[in-house]
């Protein structure tokens, strides 16, 4: 048995890595195709505000974090859909407002003794069995949502007006995607950290887009590449004594580079 499988914390880390690596890029496929990939980055900063508020009031911090990230996701999507702000501007406004809010909450609450670095960079090696159950539940929810609403998700990603004239409830689909992204970021942040969770949503999705020949293939490939990147990254981190989140993202980046090179070199 390999050395890294002899430790319980590594087994939990590998399971959480496979779950996060499998679910995050599946949502990423639809975010990237909508040119909305930076929503992950904005929501992860909203999540910092959520963590700060949740820990400050010290009641169900994870639920409070999800409520705040969900509200942020709905606000971004509403601003974008109603044309009040261009998509990238809406992302920037929510990101900076949340970050400022998080800084102020952390500063204002006396005795706030939490290692914010763990939320910024993640701590995959301290994942608890409770975290694993939550991640497994979310992965199941994402799997069911994406397979059941695949037609709606694919059509709204391709062209919203075209989807609307086909009878797809575009507004509800977009709100659903935003809320799923919020849930994924809330739980994945524990594993990957606020600063890196967006990378695992976007990079395997982009690599899958380069490799796969179809929409279905892209979704399956994104999940597979994300999960494999997580496992490979964790094993490298174990032997090279590197932080797990950073190693996972660097592997995902290498996979993306290889996929882009393959797409460029492939015969047409």
């Amino acid at each position: 048995m390999p050395a890294f499988l002899q430790y319980d914390f590594m087994i939990r880390a590998l399971i959480s890595g496979v779950l996060v690596g499998g679910l995050a890029p599946v949502l990423g496929v639809f975010l990237v195709l909508r040119r909305f990939s930076l929503i992950a980055d904005s929501l992860s900063h909203v999540a910092l505000l959520g963590v700060a508020v949740g820990l400050a009031v010290n009641v169900a911090p994870q639920a409070i974090t999800f409520a705040i990230v969900g509200a942020g996701a709905l606000a971004i999507e509403t601003l974008r859909a109603k044309g009040k702000l261009p998509g990238d501007v809406a992302l920037a406004v929510i990101l900076y407002a949340s970050l400022a809010g998080a800084v102020c909450v952390v500063s204002a609450v006396r005795g706030f003794n939490v290692d914010l670095l763990a939320f910024l960079f993640g701590s995959i090696l301290t994942v608890t069995p409770g975290d694993l159950w939550l991640l497994a539940g979310l992965a199941a929810a994402v799997f069911l949502a994406v397979t059941a609403f695949f037609g709606e998700l694919a059509q709204t990603s391709f062209d919203e007006e075209l989807a609307s004239v086909s009878g797809v409830p575009v507004r509800w689909v977009n709100l659903g995607v935003a809320l799923l992204a919020a849930a994924a970021i809330t739980l994945a942040m524990r594993v990957m950290g606020a600063l890196l969770v967006g990378a695992l949503i976007v990079m395997p999705a982009l690599a899958a887009q380069a490799l796969a020949g179809s929409m279905r293939g892209t979704v399956v490939a994104a999940a597979a590449l994300g999960a494999c990147s997580a496992v490979a990254g964790l094993v490298i981190a174990f032997y090279a004594d590197l932080p797990g989140g950073g190693a996972i993202v660097l592997v995902a980046f290498a996979v993306l580079l290889a996929a882009a090179a393959w797409r460029r070199a492939r015969p047409r």
Partner: protein, 275 residues
């Protein structure tokens, strides 16, 4: 073998189911006193227009004249500032039977990038008829998809990614996506923009076929010559409606008024003789 000018198909592809097209409303699209503005900029002013069933109607006008806006108003993608729009007799905001409408935008957002869907998948999207929990597993196969691909002349492109195709091929793939719905009304926004003469003829050949099968066609176009040749009725728009009727009733003077300068178009009389 069915033969069109410059393009052949090996077998005629029947698309339109006549039964669904026989509801009570006599017009596919009705607009009464419709106005619309983007902010303070009025682009459609008091337009009253009716598109009859089985018509091949073309909306003609200079750039920025509100042609595409009219299409979006007809489809409920925009709400009029004043006036009313009806799609098969129903306000588009309350219209439910979207299977009756096939829409071909000038450019689909996803077709511009390296969108990973194949032509087959894009065409299969057109079958959408509401939530289907097995959509992911259902795939793109089906005789309806086969027929639509064949009718649009893109069967050979079925497995290609939409983003890898030329503009003309993408346009015909989008037409196939619209046709797979077996629509009663086909709405197209400048389907020949950016196409060469061969690509244009391929698209017109498909539209001619579909209209002959009873599909009402409403199209925006810049191409005056093709409009004169293909359309049954023409609506000339420059913010307001300047002319609506058969193309052979359209005079050079009216065209010149529409565009603001003399337009040398090849006009036809009622018997399609040049005049």
């Amino acid at each position: 073998m069915q033969k069109h000018q410059g393009w052949t198909t090996d077998a005629p592809a029947e698309i339109a189911p006549p039964e669904r097209g026989m509801s009570a409303a006599p017009f596919a699209v009705e607009m009464d006193g419709v106005s619309f503005a983007y902010g303070g900029d009025t682009v459609v002013e008091d337009v009253t227009l009716r598109i009859e069933r089985c018509d091949f109607a073309v909306i003609l006008g200079p750039n920025g004249s509100g042609k595409s806006t009219l299409l979006k108003l007809a489809l409920g993608l925009l709400k009029p500032r004043s006036g009313s729009v009806r799609l098969f007799g129903v306000d588009p905001a309350r219209f439910k039977d979207w299977r009756r409408v096939g829409y071909v935008p000038q450019v689909a957002n996803g077709a511009q990038a390296a969108f990973p869907a194949t032509v087959g998948e894009i065409v299969a999207h057109g079958r959408y008829a509401g939530f289907s929990p097995l959509a992911f597993w259902r795939g793109e196969k089906g005789p309806d998809v086969d027929r639509a691909l064949e009718a649009a002349g893109v069967s050979h492109l079925r497995g290609r990614r939409i983003g890898d195709l030329s503009a003309g091929q993408q346009q015909r793939a989008l037409i196939a996506r619209a046709l797979v719905r077996s629509p009663d009304l086909l709405v197209l926004d400048e389907p020949i923009a950016g196409l060469d003469a061969h690509g244009e003829e391929q698209v017109y050949a498909v539209l001619r076929d579909m209209n002959a099968q009873g599909i009402t066609t409403l199209m925006v176009s810049h191409d005056i010559g093709a409009v004169m040749r293909e359309a049954k009725t023409v609506a000339c728009v420059n913010c307001s409606l300047a002319f609506h009727g058969p193309p052979h009733d359209l005079t050079r003077a009216e065209l010149a008024r529409l565009y603001g300068f003399p337009v040398d178009a090849l006009l036809h009389d009622a018997f399609h003789e040049h005049r």
